[in-house]
């Protein structure tokens, strides 16, 4: 086991977790500029594991539930928080918010408010990599609910056909708003789903960051070698509601309790043992993360509000 990788995965997951907790806190205080905000608490291992397997030149497309991908890919907390607060200094100048957070400088091609809306974009980034031979792989995250959108099918087929360097990572948190996975499709295995496209499918435990890392590494390697896409289904769980407005009445408290017990942070500590990840490591990360978040919130608070006139800028390039 790679100690450094393990530590870094844990730290990333913690950073995501604490950031989202802080976002919820700030949201409660009314600090967020948009009502659209979806946290991925409970799903951190998928983002952390996958992004750790990426190289600097790689691209990533993200979803409405994209804080984890953004952070795991190395997005900065200051400008992220500023974006959520609707500030001029935010990544999108305060006009994108949580659902459209983006940083092209790290190959992040955008969170998307349309479920499935970025699937074609991922294929396109892959297509350009193939044409231009830029050696980049595009990782396309989406929820299991998005598998039923038509463009998902079109995109995966296109990538499979042309062997584009794209890796599809399904964050299967078992719900699309209120729709349980089994009420959403008659085929729940991604190994089987992948067969329709003639590509490898993987069903991986999405609460195990190392397992996700392994699966993602293999898929990214294949993609980079020109062997085409992989469809990875990562079994995870959304610990909270779909959004703040959602009391999650469509699932049982027993299920929630059972699934919350499978916390990716705990799972990793248990799995690797205190030998690899000691209490003091974790304490140090907690302290570091807290400091980063305090600084990010301060940066956001101190930043100027996006100016009204700017809403008429950048409509055209």
């Amino acid at each position: 086991m790679n100690r450094e990788l393990t530590k870094s995965l844990y730290r990333t997951m913690l950073l995501i977790r604490r950031t989202e907790e802080r976002i919820l806190e700030e949201m409660m205080k009314g600090k967020l500029a948009s009502t659209m905000c979806h946290v991925s608490i409970g799903q951190e291992a998928v983002a952390a594991g996958t992004c750790s397997a990426m190289q600097p030149q790689d691209y990533l497309t993200s979803t409405h539930r994209g804080h984890g991908h953004f952070i795991a890919r190395g997005g900065g907390l200051d400008r992220m928080m500023a974006e959520l607060f609707g500030k001029e200094t935010g990544y999108c100048k305060g006009r994108g918010g949580s659902m459209h957070i983006t940083d092209i400088s790290i190959g992040h091609l955008g969170a998307n408010g349309i479920v499935g809306g970025h699937l074609g974009i991922a294929a396109g980034a892959g297509l350009w990599s193939q044409i231009s031979k830029n050696n980049a792989v595009t990782v396309c995250f989406f929820g299991e609910g998005a598998t039923n959108e038509g463009i998902t099918h079109e995109s995966v087929n296109m990538s499979a056909l042309w062997k584009l360097p794209v890796v599809y990572v399904v964050e299967n948190n078992h719900y699309a708003m209120s729709l349980a996975w089994e009420r959403s499709t008659a085929q729940q295995s991604f190994i089987e789903k992948a067969k329709a496209y003639g590509i490898p499918g993987v069903d991986v435990d999405g609460q195990d960051a190392l397992a996700v890392y392994e699966a993602a590494s293999e898929a990214i390697d294949r993609a980079r070698k020109g062997e085409g896409p992989t469809l990875i289904g990562a079994h995870t769980y959304r610990f909270l509601g779909h959004s703040r407005a959602d009391p999650s009445k469509y699932r049982s408290p027993e299920e929630e309790e059972r699934e919350r017990a499978r916390d990716p942070l705990t799972i990793m500590r248990t799995k690797v043992g205190s030998d690899v990840l000691s209490d003091s490591d974790v304490e140090a990360y907690e302290a570091e993360v807290k400091q980063m978040l305090d600084a990010a919130v301060k940066f956001a608070e101190d930043s100027p509000l996006a100016q009204p006139s700017t809403v008429f800028e950048d409509i055209y390039a």
Binding site: G86, G96, M99
Partner: protein, 331 residues
């Protein structure tokens, strides 16, 4: 008269139509267990069961397609598309199929279905969740388009839409769901294609629909203080467009302003303006003015979005402009 929220009025319409006609059923994302993203269908699953209140996978095109197919063979489906922005995923089904089937197949087949969706700003929901797209639908022969501004109209027009034998695009507004107003207890149906003069006046006709009706009425009330008498027309149905009511009013006031939340260019305001001008050019004392959202995407920022959509100041300015032309210098 009982006071009712817009969303509850819509639910009442669904409930009554479903009770009255077993061929009416509802399908869409999160409309069952969840009760609808904007809580319009809450409780209907318990009442009518999962066959007639059908939670669908996230497949907007197939949702509308399924509504069309069911309508062709005897059902009267009401499909919910969560945001009008997602109607972009259904345009083939709506435009190439639903709108054209009756004509294209020589009148053999009817497509009695309603596509409910909601549009507009107010929640900082951003560029992909706040648009107003009625223009696309009125530009599509074969569709009817409805956009109620009050709970009573929401109720009466939804009932009429479900009873109509054509595909109806039923545009709600996310900013109206919690609005409360009187809705008569006695069941009723509000005919499609009939505009409503919501306030009579003599100096200028202010034409709107959906949520900007509130702005229209606010401005009218405000201007009354300044002795400017504004007649306010609520279009209610956008296709067919009740130009008769509009023209009757403008004939009287000889001035008109059209107001909507959709972006200006290519908006319904252009159509209404053109039609008024074509019909009443020589009676008009000043050009029809339009007040609409700026030609810009919407920021995901509650504070910023209000700079893009129309405000009272703009409406007042437009009205003042129409009034600036003195009767004597006019033809």
């Amino acid at each position: 008269m009982p006071i009712m929220m817009y969303r509850d009025a819509l639910r009442r319409a669904l409930y009554e139509e479903m009770k009255a006609d077993p061929s009416v059923f509802v399908l869409g994302e999160d409309i069952g267990l969840y009760g609808g993203a904007y809580a319009v269908t809450k409780g209907l699953l318990e009442e009518f069961g999962p066959d007639r209140i059908r939670d669908t996978p996230m497949s907007e095109a197939a949702i509308v397609g399924a509504a069309i197919g069911a309508a062709m063979v005897g059902g009267r489906p009401v499909a919910e598309i969560m945001y009008v922005d997602f109607m972009t995923l259904t345009m083939d089904q709506v435009v190439n199929q639903a709108a054209k089937i009756h004509f294209m197949f020589g009148g053999q087949i009817k497509v009695p279905c309603v596509i409910r969706t909601q549009q507009g700003t107010g929640r900082g929901a951003g560029a992909q969740h706040s648009q107003s797209l009625e223009s696309w639908f009125i530009h599509t022969p074969g569709l009817k388009v409805v956009a109620p501004s009050t709970p009573a109209d929401a109720y009466g027009l939804l009932r009429a839409s479900i009873q109509d034998d054509n595909p109806v695009i039923f545009l709600e507004h996310k900013g109206l769901y919690a609005v409360k107003d009187e809705v008569p207890e006695e069941p009723f149906v509000t005919s499609l294609g009939v505009a409503d003069v919501r306030r009579t006046g003599s100096d200028v006709t202010l034409i709107s629909y959906s949520r900007t009706m509130q702005l229209a009425l606010e401005v009218a009330a405000q201007l009354e203080q300044r002795d400017i008498s504004v007649e306010v027309v609520d279009l209610r149905t956008l296709q067919p467009l009740d130009m008769e009511t509009v023209l009757r009013s403008v004939e009287k006031t000889r001035r008109a302003v059209v107001l909507h939340e959709a972006v200006m260019t290519g908006g319904l305001g252009a159509e209404v303006s053109a039609r008024i001008t074509e019909a009443l050019f020589h009676q008009l004392l000043s050009p029809v003015r339009r007040v609409a959202a700026a030609d810009a995407p919407l920021p995901a920022n509650v504070a910023l979005e209000k700079y893009v959509v129309p405000n009272a100041e703009q409406v007042i300015r437009a009205i003042e402009e129409t009034l600036a032309v003195k009767q004597q210098i006019a033809r």
